[in-house]
Assembly symmetry: C2
């Protein structure tokens, strides 16, 4: 314990250094707790070697080996030693990894590390092997170069996370994502020090985990797309090696179409024809909480499944049950009356409490979406706060309330990355804010999770929906609260995001796959120009009422190639804001460069052999060209004819509308530029 206090003290000492200039120099994400720089540098050569000084740990051996491959891959260095050594065999190694314990992952795992880089060697020290895994990622982020050499700059870093729960949820029910898709995203999570993978395994659209007790679940309700138990164990072990806990979610009692397709007798509406859901939304099929068979089934299922997941926590969903089928079932109504359960919420709490007892027997702690937060719910449950202003709750949702009421709690409200909102919004979602909480209450706020619901994504596009925005969320949950400069974050995230490619993440490369497919492998430069200014419609507007897209609809469309924070639109918006505030020739030149590109793309687009898919982009391409041409004339102080003005307005109005499920993300800046007095 004494050792711990010394550690804290040294952190405080370091943080006296001014941090801001280093944030300009180094591109680290999440930004470490404290960092100082020295005028030293460790040069990377083929002689680089790693020695491990600690108890045998698969985590460290794996991470150190991957470190060597990634360093070699990035630099092209032909390292003489392809594997780490033990300290006894290699006391003179250039990188020494020192730790004392091999951690069992839980919410108390110590992830702190200390990294020191000098001219001659690199020391990475941690209490646990997980700290080493975290520190190696920092070290990779530090790789720098001159024209003639690769090196690691001289730094001293002491680092530890602000929150113990830094998660990513992936929904594999709405669209299934095979093991390798999960694994590459686990790698990316580890690269930005996230430590919880929440696996949303069951929903209306499919039951995705093999049950040997109830094979009907996947035989009848998965379309053949599910994980075998060996695959589950493989993923859990893979995550564990990366220092990532895995929390499974079996969503009950609502979102139960898949379960009830296999076992209709457990449903709340006798005679209802349950089937795998192909649309998105909130549906009526619900387990019958008054039927003892429901609990027998769930206890058997959980008894079979929980051993696959060594983590202490188990997520039961519990969200979005509107209770329609409960209202329509007279026996359930009678049951409510007999048990003095006034509302469906009370009935669901009755259900939750019974489930909590089953999980308790299995040595698991219950996690549920915040609908489970009812007066009689035991405080052993963890409240997963997801609802917020959109769902009629106060901003920040139920997080603070849950902590104050004595629950451990995690935040996802503000971290719904499937809403396709800007990175800035997620980055500035501060879990605690300025609320004054007691120490105990603060400790109950475990952290948060980005949520990747997959109604509108397949394995082709899921990476571009998760990354890079989740890097910003990872920083929010790891770094000190004071690290919140958006512009600096946007600078730092660039190299961190693109380097995820070395882990196999497809967020960048799959854009061109979609555009090549759309264009039948013609020149896609004009399509890329359009892609860089268009964003998919936000907040589920793309999937109005959940019926525009079915699970088997095409997700190979222009909107699927587009991403949040369309890069050229974001850059242009900033330029125009600067220009209209304080015009300079330099800014004007940069603005004109964009306008010229947007003007000329139409010529290239027009040269393409058309097909019905490409044709849908014609209005975008053409009107962007018209608007840009006019604005170039405006900036060049040419006279704009009345016809041209009229055409400009018409074209701008067309660009303001949604096209093929995207929006032109700098349309306001285009309009502002036209208004700007010459």
């Amino acid at each position: 314990m004494k050792r711990f206090f010394i550690f804290i003290f040294s952190l405080v000492a370091y943080s006296c250094w001014s941090q801001m200039p280093l944030q300009e120099t180094f591109n680290l994400m999440p930004w470490p707790k404290t960092i100082s720089a020295q005028e030293q540098q460790f040069t990377l050569t083929p002689d680089l070697s790693i020695a491990i000084d600690g108890p045998k740990s698969n985590r460290v051996t794996t991470a150190a080996t991957k470190f060597l491959r990634r360093l070699s891959g990035r630099t092209g260095l032909f390292l003489k030693e392809g594997f780490p050594s033990t300290i006894n065999n290699r006391k003179d190694a250039s990188i020494i990894l020192t730790y004392t314990t091999v951690s069992t992952l839980n919410i108390k795992t110590d992830e702190a590390y200390k990294l020191t880089v000098t001219n001659n060697n690199i020391h990475l020290n941690a209490s646990t092997d997980v700290g080493i895994v975290r520190g190696l990622e920092t070290l990779l982020q530090l790789i720098s170069n001159t024209a003639t050499t690769y090196y690691i700059p001289g730094v001293s870093i002491t680092d530890e996370p602000r929150f113990v729960w830094r998660g990513l949820m992936i929904d594999v029910s709405r669209h299934f994502h095979p093991v390798h898709v999960i694994k590459r995203n686990l790698e990316a999570m580890a690269a930005v020090k996230m430590n919880v993978f929440h696996w949303h395994l069951v929903d209306d659209q499919g039951f995705r985990i093999q049950s040997k007790t109830f094979p009907e679940l996947t035989d009848l309700a998965s379309d053949g797309l599910f994980y075998t138990q060996e695959q589950i164990q493989d993923v859990v072990a893979y995550a564990n090696t990366l220092g990532i806990r895995v929390i499974p979610e079996i969503d009950v009692p609502g979102h139960a179409s898949a379960i009830l397709t296999a076992f209709p007798n457990l449903g709340s509406k006798p005679g209802y024809e349950y089937s795998i859901e192909r649309n998105s939304g909130v549906f009526d099929p619900t387990l019958d909480p008054t039927n003892e068979d429901t609990y027998v089934f769930l206890e058997q299922l959980f008894t079979e499944i929980t051993p696959l997941f060594p983590d202490d926590y188990f997520h039961i969903g519990g969200d979005e049950n509107e209770g329609k089928h409960w209202d329509e079932n007279k026996d359930i109504q009678k049951f409510k009356a007999a048990h003095n359960l006034k509302t469906n919420h009370d009935l669901q709490t009755y259900f939750n409490i019974k489930i909590e007892k089953i999980l308790h027997k299995l040595d698991k702690k219950l996690v549920g979406w915040d609908e489970i937060l009812t007066p009689t719910m035991p405080t052993t449950a963890v409240i997963h706060s997801w609802r917020g202003e959109n769902e009629g709750l106060p901003k920040g949702g139920t997080l603070i309330e849950a902590a104050q009421k004595g629950y451990n709690t995690i935040l996802s409200n503000g971290f719904y990355i499937d809403r396709m909102e800007s990175i800035e919004k997620h980055y500035l979602t501060e879990p605690i804010g300025n609320v004054t909480l007691s120490e105990e209450e603060t400790a109950r706020i475990l952290g948060g999770e980005a949520t990747m619901w997959s109604e509108l994504t397949t394995s082709l596009t899921i990476d571009s929906r998760i990354w890079p925005r989740t890097i910003a969320i990872a920083e929010r949950l790891w770094s000190p609260k004071t690290i919140n400069d958006v512009n600096n974050m946007l600078k730092r995230i660039q190299p961190i995001s693109f380097r995820l490619e070395e882990l196999g993440v497809t967020h960048i490369k799959n854009r061109d796959v979609i555009l090549r497919s759309m264009s039948n492998n013609q020149d896609i430069s004009s399509l890329i120009t359009l892609q860089k200014v268009c964003e998919p419609l936000k907040i589920y507007a793309r999937n109005k009422d959940g019926i525009e897209y079915q699970t088997y609809s095409p997700f190979t469309l222009f909107a699927d190639a587009c991403v949040a924070d369309a890069p050229d639109a974001v850059a242009f918006n900033r330029l125009v804001a600067n220009y209209t505030a304080a015009p300079t020739t330099k800014t004007k030149t940069e603005i004109k460069k964009y306008l010229t590109t947007w003007n000329t793309q139409y010529e290239a687009f027009s040269a393409l052999d058309k097909n019905p898919t490409l044709n849908t982009l014609e209005p975008l391409s053409k009107n962007l060209s018209v608007v840009s041409k006019t604005l170039l004339d405006v900036l060049d102080q040419k006279t704009i004819s009345k016809t041209a003005k009229q055409q400009f307005t018409e074209s701008l109005n067309i660009l303001k509308q949604d096209h093929v499920d995207v929006e032109v993300a700098m349309v306001n800046a285009l309009e502002n530029l036209a208004k700007f007095p010459k």
Copy 2:
């Protein structure tokens, strides 16, 4: 049987049509046996539906469902029906799949199909479900479009393969390739109607298949990179669904470093320190054929492993055993003398015959590389012909000899895609040629296999080494011998190759991943220009003596981004050949376009922030610019100064040399252009 003859008759009837014009119209690969076109077209609309008329077949259901996803993904059509129906539920479906039997895959599997497309519907008929799988791929290749509609042109196709064994071998020992890499390549194989996946599971660099009897094999000799038995079964089932047989290879008695790392007592040199090999080449560790324990071990291993592979065939390698350790072991020498085994070849045959008996007991037929073709080898073995002129054998190697001697045989000589030679060479490798063979002998030539040895490839690049060249090999093995027009093939292969992307194949998209990594995510346009004219060194020159690259060396270099048949170099070579033969203004203009691109790329390259990796490309970039600039002046009939001429020669000489393991693939054309009289 009668039905079969009618079928053959109709094939003959169709082939009276002239084929050549249709090869210009349709981009089918492999080209079908017979095809005719009608003035009809089946328009693709959201109402498209599929009905299955045949016995329950997972192959057909899966293929039809994937067909719908791929069609929808390519066209953007929101199909109303996301799954196929049975004929009883959907007699009026637009696509009807009719077959009578579900095939057990073997070398007698009937893969023939008949496809008829009219204005109103599409009929795909086959004897077996595998024929339906093949025909659906043809149908996908037929998808066409106008500016306003997608359609399938009216055709009648009757098709069946020339050879029954059309394989791809993937070496997963030198570099391990995880399940998903194998699966996407299986999908690509099926897309071009290949039907054998030969899985090279064991070599000096790693033992890649889990043995529960001998866990030491993967514990000690795989670096943790291997397939579990469940994964093996998963891949085999996946392949089976695609109509692909899986042949495992356990290479013995040579290439045994991995096996002997786990079980040194089975080695031929007592006291030798066996370890996982990190280099490439032919090594000495060899199983001891005089030790009965060797056979006990192999029998136990094969008894455990063979049930995972339902196919009739089992590959034992048997190649490249130089017998050095046998010569060095006195007991082995004594054994040879005692058993009247004069040469090491005789000793290996002794070994092979014992292995053959073990496999026979396990109901497996032995396949081996052509070194096993010795006088006493039983003709039950299948000879895998790989050696040719490079190995001191006649062109075409041992294929014909083996067939004449009574062995079934398959060809890989000429199909070594890892040698990075041109597609033309592989395409024109005709297995039988003009040799006159009896009907029995001809029937013994089962087909061939492309071989993807992976000394110089990781999962990042393996797809670009396999595809698109393997498509040409697939056509060689499926289509009639007369289909051999290289230019027409090169035209047809373009859309077939790029559409492999929809199956997740990474042969196109991973180029930019490498170039982004090299350039630290700067503008890669100049690097792409260079990539399009450079080819990796051929025939293992890149890995001189197998020691330039170790298994853990970086394969993220410029040479890894480059591919065989560098597209712009190939196009330029053709242009210059045409121009020097018969100059036209049009050709000259096209030549100048390339030269201008090559001249200006240096400016963009120079603008990049340099690092040691990028710097290695400086000589390429700079000298290509110098040479191109001078040639532009030559073509523009400008006077070339003496200095410029000298500089041209110097630069050309530099371009003629290897740089960073690539060669500039149009350097001769550049030289010829300079010589061309103005």
